[in-house]
Amino acid sequence: MGTALNLVFIALLVATALLAVFARDLLAAVIIFSVYSLIMALMWQRLQAPDLALTEAAVGAGVTTVLFVVTIFKTRRREEEEKE
């Protein structure tokens, strides 16, 4: 049971990471990244690291994401088009 759940988590991690990387909307990418951080925090809780789960939820999913969002508001939301 445990292994299966772990595998599901890992699959989610990889999927969110890839989505965050390839999303064209930067804001979406950042939000997906915060989801990734949350899943990571859950994963760590499963690995018996409650301190870190707490920290990651607060810092990784919280502060980091907000910093990204602030930056995106101050710059631009979409990736620039490929131009040759």
Binding site: D51, V66, K74
Partner: protein
């Protein structure tokens, strides 16, 4: 072409790293080098030696306190760096786009936030002070305070929130973590031990447990306050409007 090269490099690196993963000690095995070498003493002795039930807190603040001193210096450096790049806001004149948001937040949200933020801060205080017993500790608590400030700022605007934690409050507290660590360290030296020794050899053995506990709490508070203020300052610095920032084009 460049992307292809990068991809090839990454694939090679992935192969290498997976090869390592396949050759590493099996995960979770109690006979691993990691599980047999330094650990037993920490797990057995932490409670007696550092007077913290949470072994991680014991390691962070006591066994490897020097690392944590480095850590708080890192976050202070980050603040100094951000301020050096963006410049600190002038006192009392601080605005951000959230203040002029075209979508006014509803009364329900405002009330909820007004109600929630004190609770979050309370929780963070608990996290800070209770760090040696339960999960959590100084930095986590500080980060939670920072989170609460984020919530407050997004709803009420930067002007409001910077009135709640004005610069003259943040300014002296930003370095508190490093200073606390340094003071505790020097006290350890004065107390006859080494830098960052909590159980001073010059103090009677009976007093040492209380001393260690109080010093630990002191450091926790220092880290919590420092972390919270630094995160808040960084956030304010990044979020505020930029008319103040010198643009050298």
């Amino acid at each position: 072409m460049k992307n292809l090269l990068a991809l090839l490099f990454i694939i090679a690196l992935a192969a290498l790293l997976l090869y390592v993963a396949a050759n590493m000690p099996p995960m979770g095995d109690p006979d691993n080098p990691t599980a047999t070498h330094v650990i037993p003493r920490y797990l057995e002795g932490a409670e007696k030696e550092t007077h913290t039930e949470n072994v991680i807190t014991g390691i962070i603040l006591n066994y490897r306190g020097y690392d944590t001193m480095g850590e708080v210096t890192v976050i202070f450096s980050a603040l100094a760096a951000v301020l050096a790049v963006l410049g600190r806001e002038r006192r009392g004149r601080i605005h951000a786009y959230v203040d002029r948001s075209t979508v006014p937040s509803s009364v329900i949200v405002r009330t909820m936030v007004r109600f929630l933020v004190p609770l979050i801060v309370l929780f963070s205080v608990y996290t800070i002070l209770h760090g040696e017993i339960s999960p959590g500790g100084g930095f986590q608590g500080g980060a939670i305070i920072g989170g609460s400030m984020i919530v407050f700022t997004t709803i009420f605007g930067l002007y409001e929130s910077s009135r709640r934690i004005p610069q003259k409050v943040r300014f002296p507290l930003e370095g508190s973590a490093v200073v606390t660590f340094f003071l505790v360290g020097v006290l350890g030296m004065v107390g006859g031990g080494n830098f960052l020794t909590y159980a001073w050899p010059r103090v009677a053995a009976g007093l040492q447990p209380a001393l260690v506990t109080w010093l630990t709490v002191l450091v926790e508070i220092g880290i919590g306050l420092g972390g919270a203020m630094v995160l808040t300052s960084i956030l304010f610095c990044m979020i505020r409007e930029e008319e103040e920032i010198a643009v050298v084009a």
